[in-house]
């Protein structure tokens, strides 16, 4: 809305269109629009420039932007367990590789668990990353029980005193109750083997996903508490506004974003940059 000289109906429509086409969704958009119209009225704002700061604040409020909420729950002196979950093709395995690279660079020892025992060549895919990044990996044969892989991985991590155990799970659509039950079981196994684990359960979302992300957040949360989101494929044209809807509805913060297919294409989430990109 740099094109608008005045805060008029055209301006409001363009603002609404920007939010909707960024996948912010109708409910969060309505809330944001209402707050801004109110603010503009109360403060008698007639120029768009007078609103830019408030627009940013309103969205930041929704995004739970305090730093604490967005950093990972990693502590020295224990095996930190991070579980990657999400629907098929979102970017879990690649994000697992990126996090491995990220932690190794910070001096942590990392152990990987190939808990996707179902999909064709899923184990080979993670194993290829493990070799490339030079980290050990716990895997069983294709078709074996993922809970058994996780059980072994937790015990191997303890034995080796690994700083971080990264568990890659199979993609699953949230309406498949048997697959969600399987995830619940994996979560239980982790908790029994390592106290307070998993310390992080990251829901991996594809930035091109629309309103279905709300159903994903809801149903995954029902079986494992989700501590954060990783939003992948933000190197495309999708702006990932769905994270605003998910934050508003479920209070889940975005911790990392994926901006490419290489190991270093992972960045901590910075709300200011996201909001800037939203309004291009």
């Amino acid at each position: 809305f740099r094109l608008h000289k005045k805060v008029n109906e055209d301006f409001w429509e363009e603002l609404e269109d920007t939010l909707i086409t960024s996948d912010v969704g109708t409910s969060a958009t309505d809330r944001i629009m209402e707050e801004l119209r109110e603010y503009a009225k109360e403060n008698k704002i007639s120029e768009p420039a007078g609103l830019t700061a408030r627009i940013r604040e309103v969205i930041e409020e929704i995004l739970l932007t305090d730093e604490e909420k967005r950093t990972l729950n990693i502590e020295q002196g224990r095996v930190n367990v991070i579980m990657m979950v999400g629907v098929n093709g979102a970017g879990k395995t690649t994000s697992t590789a990126k996090l491995t690279h990220y932690f190794k660079n910070q001096g942590f020892s990392v152990l990987l668990a190939a808990a996707d025992t179902f999909r064709a060549a899923a184990i080979e895919q993670l194993e290829s990353w493990a070799n490339r990044l030079d980290v050990p990996i716990i895997k069983h044969k294709e078709g074996s029980d993922p809970a058994a892989v996780v059980y072994d991985a937790c015990n191997a991590a303890k034995a080796r005193k690994a700083d971080i155990l990264l568990i890659d799970t199979a993609g699953r659509l949230q309406n498949k109750s048997n697959l969600m039950k399987e995830l619940e079981k994996i979560h239980r196994v982790i908790g029994r083997e390592i106290p307070d684990a998993p310390h992080e359960v990251l829901l991996v979302l594809d930035a091109t996903t629309g309103q279905n992300a709300l159903s994903q957040a809801q149903q995954f949360s029902a079986v494992t508490p989700i501590s954060g989101l990783v939003m992948c494929k933000l190197d495309g044209s999708a702006r990932g506004g769905i994270m605003v809807a998910v934050a508003q509805e479920f209070g889940i913060p975005v911790k990392y974003i994926g901006v490419g297919e290489s190991p270093d294409d992972l960045k901590p989430f910075v709300p200011e940059l996201f909001i800037k990109a939203l309004f291009g």
């Binding site: 098929n88 970017g91 060549a121 659509l173 309406n175 309103q211 494929k233 495309g236 769905i242």
Partner: protein, 293 residues
């Protein structure tokens, strides 16, 4: 459901006497909201609403005893009309092998769908199918297609990951011709349409192969970006059809309407599961009902 929401809005308004233009505007606002929640792209929703408004507002509406239901009927009819009245089959080449190229965004389901399509054509149409692995980027991508080929007893052509995708694709088709295959299905690496280099590579592959079918594999949960994705892939890669995947999920699939409306390409198949049997022919009317909710 949308039907209930629209009927609810309109019939409640009717209780106050004669239906007004303002009432219809409220009902259409409800339709807009529902379509956006179903992930239909905004530009498509706007065009759709104006088309429905044009058709719905008239003598028929003012006289109707059930105006809510009438608006719903117009919405549904318009949806089905846009989705394309009937299922459109795969094109076959008069000069075998028929080359089918699978393209689309990262993780959409191209490799799995290539396997599903190979199974469909082998089992149902008794074709001799060759799968070609040209994804030289993703770790174990070639292995993934080989595992699927093995499960189906379908040959997979690959040249490892040190050759260019264009060269591998050309060699695969040449092999297909030489060995009398009916169909060659070329699996390609995922890419974002915003990635200039990868889109150029795909254009080159497409120009070298001149496939009979270039199928855009699109995830059912795709949001507003569907129009941009479809527009670029159809313009630059000349897609002839689409396959929407993961419709066994609870995504409403509004992207199907966006793709069809913006590019006109027909959706030919849908993926409804992870197993190789989970491929169905696309039915426009069923999709319209799903989007409506």
């Amino acid at each position: 459901s949308l039907s209930e929401r629209i009927s609810g809005v309109i019939d409640k308004l009717r209780g106050r006497g004669k239906l007004t233009e303002e009432d219809v505007k409220k009902a259409l606002r409800e339709v807009r909201r529902a379509l956006l929640e179903a992930d239909v792209s905004l530009s498509v929703v706007k065009k759709f609403i104006s088309q429905v408004r044009e058709k719905a507002i008239g003598e028929e509406l003012w006289k109707s005893l059930t105006p809510g239901q009438l608006v719903v009927k117009h919405v549904k009819d318009e949806l089905v009309a846009i989705m394309g009245g009937e299922a459109v089959p795969l094109e076959m080449s008069a000069d075998p092998p028929t080359v089918i190229m699978m393209v689309g965004l990262n993780g959409a389901g191209k490799t799995t769908t290539a396997g599903k399509l190979a199974r469909y054509l082998k089992e149902r149409e008794k074709k001799k199918v060759l799968l070609a692995a040209t994804d030289v980027y993703r770790p174990a991508a070639i292995k993934q297609l080989e595992v699927l080929g093995e499960q189906l007893d379908v040959q997979v052509f690959q040249m490892g990951d040190k050759n260019s995708p264009v060269d591998i694709a050309k060699a695969a088709v040449a092999h297909g011709e030489k060995e009398d295959f009916d169909i060659v299905i070329v699996d390609t690496a995922g890419r974002l349409q915003a990635n200039e280099e990868l889109m150029k590579e795909l254009e080159d592959t497409r120009d070298a192969l001149k496939p009979t079918e270039t199928l855009l594999v699109l995830d059912a949960m795709t949001g507003q970006d569907a129009v941009n994705i479809a527009d670029q892939f159809v313009k630059r890669i000349k897609c002839t059809g689409a396959i929407m995947t993961k419709l066994d999920g609870d995504a409403r699939g509004g992207a199907a309407l966006s793709v069809r409306e913006v590019t006109g390409i027909p959706i030919k198949f849908i993926g409804v599961g992870e197993r190789l049997q989970a491929l169905e022919v696309f039915h426009p009317d069923r999709m319209a009902s799903r989007i409506l909710g």
